[in-house]
């Protein structure tokens, strides 16, 4: 009997569209570590040691196949000096937009990576995780150039900038690209196995498919081409079925897809060009019984598991703090029970 694969082997195998020993699963838990260590979130966020310790304890508890090295998305505006609002029951939130006047984009510069305390804290988390866990993927993360302006400008002014000021839009994309490339490569150098590339604005929920094809995919591909490692695209619960083929062309190794979409249809449309992560509903998960958790896991495994190219995860990229451990344990148990290859119990998707 073959020994079980390590989480890293399992993930790398499925990314090649080859079936590993079982379907890998990512519990993208950025906050539950604080509860595990019995410290308030405010204290947790400020300590790379606590975050790393929390991640390792969570993996010990649930047995999932990754460690999360990027604590919160708003760090990507905090690093620029932007306002971030911390709270005791959820992730930190971007406050008032960083850029007061769109004309300021003309002179805007990305923050230096070296010596930036916010970036240094994330890099330290990744270093600690990489030092203490060699066979588990450590996933870094950043907000993509095309989506960062939501925090820099606010959503409304960003949509108007895209429509009315192509000159400033292009300049902002190029500034953000420099920042994202530098941060991603620093995370990989610190020991991240891959980086998550959060690009919710690129989803067809937010912009027209043609805008993705003409604009957003070009920026994503250009940025990813300069990142020296694997990149997993994430559209934070947005839709992407119509553009999954173009997403596969950006250089991403995987796309995390939202709970509104048909996982089997996405897998079919991806055509083996890019692996999928997803698409459990993290908000609804809060109320799941163990039976519901098992049913949801089975449904996702049956839709996307056969043939590999699939990692079970939530569909957003962050499981809410309010999701109880019992549900996470039930998900983990269901993957171990039903996710062992070959998935003989699952009917092949139509």
């Amino acid at each position: 009997m073959k020994p079980p694969m390590t989480p890293l082997e399992r993930v790398l195998t499925t990314l090649r569209y080859v079936e590993p020993d079982r379907v890998p699963f990512f519990l993208l838990l950025t906050m539950h570590g604080a509860r595990e260590l019995q410290v308030p979130l405010a204290e947790y966020w400020r300590s790379p040691d606590l975050i790393a310790e929390g991640q390792l304890r969570l993996r010990e508890k649930f047995g999932h196949d990754c460690l999360v090295g990027a604590p919160y998305a708003a760090a990507d505006v905090e690093a620029w000096g932007g306002e971030v609002i911390f709270r005791d029951d959820g992730p930190p939130n971007a406050g008032e937009p960083l850029i007061a006047d769109v004309e300021d984009i003309r002179t805007l510069q990305p923050p230096p990576i070296e010596g930036n305390p916010v970036i240094a804290a994330t890099l330290r988390v990744i270093e600690l995780l990489a030092e203490r866990s060699h066979d588990v993927p450590v996933v870094g993360g950043l907000v993509a150039p095309f989506s960062l302006p939501v925090m820099q400008l606010g959503f409304e002014r960003y949509l108007l900038l895209m429509r009315d000021r192509p000159d400033l839009f292009e300049r902002l994309m190029s500034i953000n690209e420099e920042y994202c490339v530098a941060v991603a490569n620093a995370q990989l150098a610190a020991g991240a196995t891959a980086v998550g590339f959060a690009d919710p604005v690129a989803s067809t929920t937010v912009v027209d498919p043609q805008v993705y094809r003409d604009v957003a995919s070009r920026i994503a591909a250009r940025t990813m081409g300069r990142i020296h490692g694997g990149v997993a695209l994430n559209v934070a619960s947005g839709r992407c079925l119509e553009i999954i083929g173009e997403m596969a062309q950006t250089g991403a190794v995987a796309v995390q897809v939202g709970p509104d979409e048909d996982l089997a249809a996405l897998k079919h449309a991806a055509g083996g060009g890019v692996a999928l992560l997803g698409n459990l509903n993290g908000i609804a998960m809060r109320h799941w019984t163990p039976g519901q958790a098992e049913a949801e896991v089975k449904k996702a495994l049956a839709a996307a598991g056969p043939g590999g190219g699939y990692v079970l995860a939530d569909g957003h990229g962050e499981i809410p703090f309010q999701v109880p451990d019992d549900v996470l344990l039930a998900i983990a148990e269901a993957v171990r029970r039903w996710g062992v290859y070959p998935l003989d119990w699952a009917d092949p998707p139509a």
């Binding site: 609002i85 709270r87 029951d89 959820g90 992730p91 939130n93 971007a94 406050g95 008032e96 937009p97 606010g154 959503f155 409304e156 949509l159 895209m162 429509r163 067809t204 929920t205 937010v206 912009v207 027209d208 805008v211 619960s237 839709r239 709970p259 509903n281 993290g282 908000i283 609804a284 809060r286 109320h287 809410p320 703090f321 309010q322």
Partner: protein, 214 residues
């Protein structure tokens, strides 16, 4: 063209971002008519269909937003008289609870104003206590609350408790991603209703105003 065709023409003009065409549809329809009737027959159905199109994925949020802003501007220009007289207390208020993501509120605000409602915008980043204080002072009949993150959505429960001390209290309608992704969440936090898009908001507001004080 009948009202149905007019509404379709208005909808198409909004989706194309064609200000001149949108203006022309309303002006044609208004000739010798009642602005409120034009709003009801042309503007509201067009906005309802656009909102529903976003819900089904047929149009993007960017298109929904830009068409909503255009509708608001064109209506203010061509049908200024559908708004209540200046100085009249708005019976509808809207707020983003606890966070700074204002786009959802903006979409609903545009739709309500285009449909002729006067709406007081309480802003964003307010705590439940702040919102209760505004409602105590201004007595809106309907309060719309937009949230993006689950923790803020759960804080609606605190808001409900605070509003319960007012007599009468406003009807509380909630919206935003957490409520869309968990269809039972609005009941859990004690709201009076929820909607997934600006079309739902128009319908729910209309029905809350018809129901009278709570």
């Amino acid at each position: 063209m009948d009202a149905h065709d007019q509404a379709q023409a208005f909808q198409k003009a909004l989706l194309r971002g064609d200000r001149a065409a949108a203006r022309a549809v309303l002006r044609d329809d208004l000739e010798g008519g009642d602005p409120v009737a034009v709003s009801e027959a042309v503007v509201v159905p067009a906005l309802e269909r656009i909102g529903a199109s976003w819900e089904t994925g047929a149009i993007s949020l960017a298109t929904l937003y830009l068409s909503g802003v255009l509708a608001e501007e064109v209506v203010a220009e061509v049908l200024p008289n559908i708004r209540p007289a200046t100085g009249a207390a708005p019976s509808i208020a809207i707020v983003v609870l606890e966070d700074h993501h204002v786009l959802g509120k903006r979409l609903v605000l545009s739709a309500l104003r285009s449909a002729g409602h006067a709406v007081e915008d309480y802003g964003h980043g307010l705590s439940p206590r702040d919102v209760v204080a505004r409602c105590r002072a201004e007595s809106p009949r309907v309060l719309l609350v937009s949230t993006l993150m689950l923790p803020a959505a759960l804080k609606v429960r605190t808001l409900v408790d605070g509003l319960a001390e007012l007599d009468p209290r406003p009807a509380l309608l909630v919206g935003g991603a957490p409520f869309r992704m968990d269809p039972e969440l609005w009941r859990e936090v004690g709201a009076d209703g929820t909607g997934n898009n600006s079309a739902d908001a128009l319908r729910l507001v209309r029905s809350a105003l018809e129901e009278g004080p709570r």
